[in-house]
Symmetry: C2
Subunit: 150 residues, 2 copies
């Protein structure tokens, strides 16, 4: 965790990037590190955890991180938390909380609230269209004997 | 939306990749397309929406998508929904629902439920550590006059 915090501090110091970093660890060994690169990489998805997960999967040449733990200098936002679920990593440690992040101007608390709302009550206008046609894609996948579940 | 669905179907057909695609549109023009590449790219974050957002931001050379709409062949999972919030896109259209995705074996409904839970009630063990030290990173960022808010 101290390594994640040190990386986050370094990231905030150089270039004014987001003060966040994350490490993926397996059996006590760091597999990948990531820092927040949103503004420097022009990528709103380049949070520390996403960056670390992508690098860890590239290192392991697999799309899952079973047996891994993730150390985050701050509580993962809903994007990163869901990414950790999809990665199948098995434990999360975090330092600062979502409320600490809100106190310095980050939207984590608001986005947690929005994600938990039913679609029709969100601030972001959202509309369902052409469901029946969309289900055709799902049938295609179900019928494909080569599909890889994740 | 029909283009997103066609792309999703094509993605599911070739290589058995996830049956999902997304488009970023601005002023009626498609800026970027993305399909689910999780298993083919060994990247659990490579959902269609994340792929499309990253490509759209690369095309616009900016870390935000203000004025853009996102068309998703299926309801965004919490990772993708939060990514859309972070991107500042302004409207979402989707085809199949999270329940349709659950019916063919995807974890969207479960992850929505988990993200909405307080940390201590989640299935994924999560622990806070060294908060006071972590706040040092936040102070570094707050004190950096060159910081770029996002």
């Amino acid at each position: 965790m101290r390594r994640a915090i040190a990386l986050a501090t370094e990231n905030a110091r150089s270039g004014g990037r987001g003060p966040f970093a994350a490490l993926v660890v397996r059996e006590g060994k760091v597999i990948a590190e990531g820092a927040n690169l949103v503004t420097s990489a022009n990528d709103p998805t380049a949070h520390a955890e996403i960056t670390a997960i992508r690098r860890a999967c590239a290192a392991l040449k697999h799309f899952q991180l079973r047996g891994c733990e993730i150390y985050c200098s701050a509580e993962p936002c809903p994007m990163c938390l869901a990414a950790i679920y999809w990665s199948r990593a098995e434990r999360i440690y975090f330092g600062a909380s979502r409320h600490d992040a809100a106190a310095i101007g980050f939207d984590d608390v608001r986005i947690y609230r929005e994600v938990a709302q039913p679609v029709e009550r969100r601030e972001l206008p959202t509309q369902q269209l052409l469901r029946q046609e969309a289900l055709e894609s799902f049938r295609e996948w179900e019928n494909n004997p080569d599909k890889i579940r994740y």
